[in-house]
């Protein structure tokens, strides 16, 4: 299947290995991966901060880019950005010209784990990684896209990885985009609950489906000198690739 990768601006600028890993995993399961060089952002920062005019401009650009692609699916290593694209029809609810286009693009866009399991029906991508590992449910993946079993199924099928459930895995990490900048003290107070749970879990790595949560969690873990590392699901699934 031909898929078009929406890598997200965060991954593009701050965490390219997530993009590289996503491509590896998608190719391993038989996808042909294209990448449109004109892509930028899904518009979420403006949408979530209340700047709808700006959000619409960026969303229209996104729609135009992927309308030009004949790929069957748009795949993104982010539950949050995928959820944003799924919100596009709300953004254009009063715009008869853009609404159907927004709906079509929203329906074509999938988060990586959801694409593997729900679309391709692949539960084991042949990854291997040795160690004790846990999963943090990123809020938008969990609540907007209903991703609960998908990432866990994929992780459980990683050879060598011992999966443990995180206490309150579904609790927010406190990032929340501009929330973490507007109210950094509250953001870190929420984050510390997550950090405590991760430390109690006694794992080598905490995995999640969004670079934003991982930046938040990883930034605090490293500040506290923790040995636990953060890893994106794509990175875990690309680990120990079968030759």
């Amino acid at each position: 299947m031909k898929v078009s990768l929406f890598v997200t601006c965060l991954v593009d600028q701050l965490w390219t290995s997530i993009g590289v890993s996503s491509v590896e995993v998608l190719r391993r399961v038989g996808c042909e991966v294209e990448f449109d060089q004109s892509q930028t952002c899904c518009a979420q920062p403006a949408f979530n901060t209340g700047y709808l005019k700006e959000a619409r401009q960026v969303a229209q650009r996104f729609i135009e880019i992927y309308e030009a692609s004949d790929a069957e699916a748009i795949v993104s290593p982010s539950g949050s950005c995928t959820a944003m694209v799924r919100h596009y029809p709300e953004l254009f609810a009063d715009d008869p010209k853009w609404l159907p286009r927004a709906q079509t693009i929203a329906a074509r866009t999938h988060e990586l784990s959801s694409f593997l399991i729900r679309v391709l029906k692949v539960e084991d991508v042949g990854a291997s990684w040795t160690g004790k590992i846990t999963w943090h449910d990123a809020c938008h993946g969990l609540r907007d896209l209903n991703l609960k079993h998908e990432p866990r199924t994929l992780i459980r099928n990683v050879r060598g990885a011992e999966f443990v459930e995180l206490e309150h895995a579904d609790a927010c990490c406190g990032f929340g985009g501009t929330f973490s900048v507007k109210y950094p003290e509250i953001s870190v107070a929420i984050l510390d609950q997550k950090i405590d749970a991760i430390e109690r879990a006694g794992v080598q790595a905490v995995v999640s489906g969004d670079a934003s949560c991982l930046m938040q969690i990883g930034g605090r873990l490293s500040r506290k000198g923790s040995k636990v590392r953060v890893m994106h699901l794509a990175e875990l699934l690309a680990a120990g690739e079968r030759k």
Partner: protein
């Protein structure tokens, strides 16, 4: 007095975060309520269907609110109640103060009511020379401490047992103890005396049934039963959104509300009050007055997005589930209604001028939406309010930043250029000092994914 303003939300929140007593009390209480809610919801196999049904009933009531209110008023008055209409808080308070004066009331007992907190009724009655005694244990505690409630259903949730013991020693003169039985016993003895002497009882309303003119109030302590039956005059204060069409509709709400609020399958008391007593020799108040409060609700009703917030049944589940509330508690919001639903309702009831920070006090995680028994899409409402506030009240720097951001994000060449510029700039400019104070910031990659491609 600990009455904070919404205008200083960020400072309030910082102070709350530094209060270890508060954070300990909040952690215990919100997680206990949260766990109990979860178990109670799981005890009903059709929880999701009930939520959908409850919302449908509320939507029906709200879309024909004028008709159902009229029906309620007619039926309540036929049974002997007197209904008053108040456009705003001042009108509601004036109506009640006048009633108290007419009936030569000196002592008033009150049961817990968020609506009278909203109108600041106690202050108005006290200014008119009345003695007002809160009879819900939590409300009684915060009245003694001269504080506003910090939670919709558990007003003293922010206090530890030790703090309450100190308060009772100071205010009620009881010997120091942190024994809960002795503490509640003292409160009970003091309150019983007030019930016996009060001339007027003021309560809130959980549901007002159009079909029968009945008001329904649920509770655990029995103080509402006493407040509404012992004094000569009973005044019930309700927001206009409390009306539901039929008696049979209660079935679904009485399943959802206690489970969502305290995790109970049923509260200890459910009071159904339909008009006044039928015969002079019956027990009960001589008069029942119902005050219907608008106070901004009609405005909320007019808009299809904001209307859904009027479906709220004030269970408090969204507060317990909210990661922000769990950390800072209710007082920091500086509003009568705190937490996610408070951040949505307050700006709409009070106007956005002084409350514009509240809709941003959320990570938009959506935990509130998951637990809401009437399926209010609180994140959607927060976004709706943000879209009203940001373009008008956002800082000039923020508005310009988003304009510039949109220009960059719609022009791939600009995007790539700014990516390179960012790499250079990051060596000199800290993006957000406050962010960096708590967390290490991940540096911008030396090559973007765009540059790595094709791989």
């Amino acid at each position: 007095m600990n009455h904070l303003s919404s205008e200083t939300f960020r400072e309030n929140a910082k102070a709350a975060l530094a209060d270890t007593h508060l954070r300990g009390a909040l952690k215990n209480a919100t997680s206990l309520f949260g766990e109990r809610r979860k178990e109670a919801a799981a005890s009903l196999p059709n929880w999701e269907a009930l939520r959908t049904q409850a919302r449908a009933i509320k939507d029906e009531a709200l879309s024909h609110l004028d008709r159902y209110l009229k029906e309620f008023v007619e039926n309540a008055e036929t049974r002997g109640a007197k209904v008053h209409h108040a456009r705003d808080a001042a009108e509601a308070n004036a109506i009640i103060c006048n009633l108290a004066a007419e009936h030569r009331v000196r002592v008033i007992v009150k049961s817990k009511s968020m609506t009278t907190e909203e109108t600041h009724l106690n202050a108005a009655l006290e200014a008119a020379g009345m003695q007002v005694v809160e009879t819900d244990l939590g409300e009684y505690i915060i009245q003694l401490a001269d504080e506003p409630p910090s939670h919709i259903i558990a007003p003293a949730i922010h206090k530890t047992r030790g703090q309450i013991a100190e308060l009772f020693t100071a205010e009620l003169g009881m010997p120091p103890t942190d024994d809960i039985v002795q503490l509640t016993g003292t409160a009970r003895t003091t309150l019983r005396d007030r019930f016996a002497t009060a001339d007027m009882g003021i309560s809130g309303v959980n549901f007002a049934i159009a079909e029968t003119g009945t008001i329904v109030i649920i509770e655990n302590e029995g103080n509402i039963r006493l407040t509404t039956s012992l004094p000569r005059v009973h005044v019930a204060v309700m927001g206009i959104e409390k009306v539901i069409p039929r008696f049979a509709d209660l079935d679904v709400f009485l399943k959802l509300l206690p489970r969502s609020g305290t995790g109970q399958r049923l509260t200890t008391y459910q009071s159904f009050i339909t008009g006044t007593k039928r015969h002079a020799s019956d027990e009960g108040p001589e008069e029942l007055h119902v005050v219907l409060l608008d106070n901004g609700r009609s405005r909320m009703l007019a808009h299809p997005v904001t209307r859904q917030a009027l479906a709220c049944i004030r269970c408090g589940a969204c507060l317990n589930a909210c990661p922000v509330y769990q950390q800072i508690g209710g007082h920091a919001y500086g509003s009568v209604y705190p937490g996610p639903i408070g951040a949505v309702i307050t700006p709409q009831l009070m106007g956005i001028e002084k409350t514009s920070q509240l809709p941003y006090a959320s990570s938009l995680c959506g935990a509130c939406r998951d637990v809401c028994p009437v399926k209010i899409d609180i994140p959607q409402l927060l976004l709706h309010l943000r879209a009203e506030i940001s373009p008008r009240k956002g800082s000039i720097a923020e508005r310009l930043a988003f304009k510039l951001w949109a220009k960059v994000m719609t022009r791939p060449a600009l995007y790539k250029m700014s990516s390179v510029a960012g790499r250079i700039l990051q060596r000199f400019v800290p993006i957000s000092r406050a962010w960096i104070n708590g967390r290490d910031l991940r540096p911008i990659e030396s090559k973007s994914f765009h540059e790595l491609w094709p791989i």
